[in-house]
């Protein structure tokens, strides 16, 4: 069985063989997990991590709290994996709100950290930036537009 998880557009695939779980590109070996309904603990070598979780079946999500940090993993069906990978690395709104400025045009070459879109949400302005050097492929929003959470705003390549 394969489990595909996505958190902040980063996709992790896990394989389950004979009840043991292995992660692609992950060095973790020989951990012990215990799960008791809402709390979990993972022991690895001499370190132990305790956290809390909630499974949202209708949204296919696992919510985790680990060391005060919050993670929300979307469970992605194998068939949807390609579509999810295609979204990776693009500019996506994390909150619903209004687009104040679009600072790029198709074919613009961008440097890492360059501002792309300024969005207003929760009465604050925040700027979405390029996470790497890239080129703008398509701009899907304009200034003044209302956007939803998780909406694809600018396609990068």
């Amino acid at each position: 069985m394969k489990i595909n998880l996505s958190f902040q557009q980063k996709i992790v695939s896990c394989l389950v063989r004979d009840g043991q779980l292995s992660l692609e590109d992950n060095q973790l070996q020989g951990y012990q997990a215990s799960i008791d309904g809402r709390a979990f603990s993972i022991a690895l070598a001499d370190q132990s991590y305790r956290g809390y979780y909630y499974i949202d079946h209708s949204a296919n999500q696992v919510h985790l709290n680990l060391g005060g940090y919050y993670y929300r993993y979307d469970l992605i069906a194998e068939a949807a994996l390609n579509a999810a990978k295609e979204r990776q690395g693009n500019i996506i709104s994390s909150l619903p709100g209004k687009i104040l400025k679009v600072l790029v045009q198709p074919k613009d070459k961008l440097k890492q950290g360059q501002p792309i879109v300024v969005q207003e949400a929760m009465k604050m302005q925040h700027t979405l930036e390029a996470s790497r050097d890239c080129e703008v492929e398509e701009v899907l929003v304009g200034a003044g537009e209302q956007v939803a959470a998780d909406q694809l705003l600018v396609k990068l390549k």
Binding site: M1, I3, L5, F7, V12, C14, V16, L21, L23, N26, L28, Y31, A33, I35, R38, F40, I42, L44, Q47, Y49, G51, Y52, Y53, Y54, I55, D56, H57, S58, V62, H63, L64, N65, L66, G67, G68, Y69, Y70, Y71, Y73, L75, S94, L95, P96, G97, A121, M122, K123, M124, H126, A149
Partner: protein, 491 residues
């Protein structure tokens, strides 16, 4: 002023402060009336109040609110903080409609709300001000004129809107290069935000502490000082950790700060709870008047913890015309508050929104207080401020209060939104804060370590949890009963 009985009080606010005010009203047997917007259906403050009504428009719609209050026979309105709490037009409208505004008189709000006016008053009273000048709305300064003023003020300078507050429409300028551009930009911003392009220019202290004095004016406008608070830890000019009392201030300096605060409050005929804010330069022991906030503040809790007073109860007594005095109030121990906000735990402080699917907080006691506006099942909405709850600890001394708050933050589990809890814990654990060497810009000088090990473990945990679920329920995943981290959060 004749004493009157307030029987029905409307809280023109939401979130933790509305819940906190409702608690005091319930204890005093006063009917609490909440208001909400359509998007807030089922919000905690509405469930806690005796009555709840849909606002015709929003929390700023003066005419609609007054009409709603009259329809439901409201005696008095508590504005909380933010929204219309410092709006003198609203305050007058409430009074003209024959109701009581729980706060200072309109003219006091108006005087202190205008930074130019407030600075003029402070100057007249001999309260020390940061070197600076008023930049009136009517005459736009030329580049040469402005550079001369900034030179006299001394770089770096802080430019801010005269009508502004809460960290909005302000900018720190380090040299003359960007001075005029920023000046023009802020005039525009101030005009669009407040319909008033007047600015204030002040010298900016790079390493200062934010010290503020709590005042409480009785119904005869006789003002009392309820000690001070240190609120130096700020991000984006908004406070995140506050404590009472402020420490490491010489007795004489503190006494003079308190007396200046009282002088300012008396000069505007202040009644009720208010805060006079100062910047304190710990390198030379000098302090400078910043502004007066004419309302109950987010951090009033730490003052309540060290004095044992319920400031909302006192506000109600004062508003009802009861003659109160606060001469013999003592300051006991040390209290610290942490504001828990829905935001990314990195240093961008991007707000976050979502449904709270898990909520667990430590048990409260005389030494740990929790003021919360959320419960499991609540929605943190993108339309409003992202502060969800406050944890407040109280102990004999500062170190113990910090320890207690650290533990409490570790026991606070929120699922559904990102929170600033990791940042708060790092702040409390920092050498600078522990040794009282923090200053207003401290957070902006910090670096946050990536939670490397947690980040590695998180996907493993998620996969294990999912696999476990799969094994238990086979291929047909059934809806589980709702996650119940803590049964008593809604009590």
């Amino acid at each position: 002023m004749a004493e009157q009985k307030l029987k029905r009080v409307l809280i023109l606010n939401r979130g933790e402060i509305a819940c906190r005010i409702i608690q005091t009203l319930s204890r005093l047997g006063i009917t609490s009336i909440a208001v909400y917007q359509a998007v807030e259906q089922g919000a905690l403050h509405c469930r806690m109040a005796d009555e709840a009504y849909l606002l015709p428009e929003d929390y700023l719609d003066i005419d609609g609110i007054i009409e709603l209050c009259q329809k439901h026979a409201v005696d008095a309105i508590h504005p909380g903080y933010g929204f219309l709490s410092e709006n003198h037009v609203f305050c007058r409208a409430v009074e003209q409609a024959g109701m009581v505004f729980i706060g200072p008189p309109a003219r006091a709000i108006q005087k202190m709300g205008d930074k130019v006016e407030a600075r003029r008053l402070a100057r007249e009273l001999g309260v020390s001000l940061m070197p600076g000048a008023d930049l009136a709305a009517t005459e736009e300064k030329s580049q040469v004129e402005l550079e001369k003023i900034a030179e006299e003020t001394g770089y770096p300078v802080l430019l801010k809107a005269a009508a502004g507050g809460g960290g909005k429409a302000m900018s720190i300028v380090k040299s003359k290069d960007l001075l005029h551009t920023e000046y023009l930009r802020l005039r525009e911003e101030a005009e669009s935000l407040y319909h008033n392009s007047a600015l204030v220019i002040e010298h900016y202290l790079e390493k200062a502490r934010h010290v503020e004095v709590q005042v409480l004016g009785n119904c005869q406008a006789e003002n009392f000082v309820l000690f001070d608070r240190d609120c130096s830890l700020q991000r984006n000019n908004q406070k995140v950790i506050e404590e009472a009392p402020a420490l490491a201030i010489e007795d004489g300096v503190r006494a003079s700060m308190h007396s200046d605060a009282r002088k300012l409050a008396d000069a505007v005929g202040y009644t009720g709870a208010g805060t006079v804010e100062f910047l304190y330069d710990h390198q030379n022991g000098r302090y400078y008047f910043l502004e007066m906030n004419t309302r109950l503040q987010v951090e009033h809790t730490v003052t309540e913890m060290v004095t044992g007073l319920d400031l909302v109860e006192e506000q109600l007594k004062i508003a009802a015309g009861q003659v109160t005095r606060y001469d013999n109030i003592l300051c006991g121990g040390h209290a610290i508050q942490a504001r828990i906000c829905a935001e990314t735990p990195d240093l961008n402080f991007t707000p976050h929104a979502g449904d709270i699917v898990g909520y667990q907080v430590p048990a409260t006691s005389g030494s740990l207080r929790i003021d919360s506006g959320i419960a499991r099942g609540s929605a943190v909405l993108p339309h409003y401020d992202n502060m969800m709850l406050k944890l407040v600890s109280h102990a004999e001394n500062r170190d113990d209060a910090i320890d207690k708050l650290m533990v409490a933050l570790g026991e606070t589990i929120i699922l559904g939104v990102h929170t600033n809890i990791p940042l708060l814990r790092q702040l409390l654990a920092s050498e600078e804060f522990r040794n009282y060497r923090h200053f207003t810009r401290f957070i902006s000088t910090m670096t946050l370590p990536e939670p490397a090990s947690e980040k590695e473990i998180a996907p493993v945990a998620a996969a294990c949890i999912y696999q476990n679920e799969f094994q238990k329920n086979g291929s047909r995943l059934k809806e589980l009963t709702a996650f119940d981290l803590l049964g008593n959060t809604e009590s």
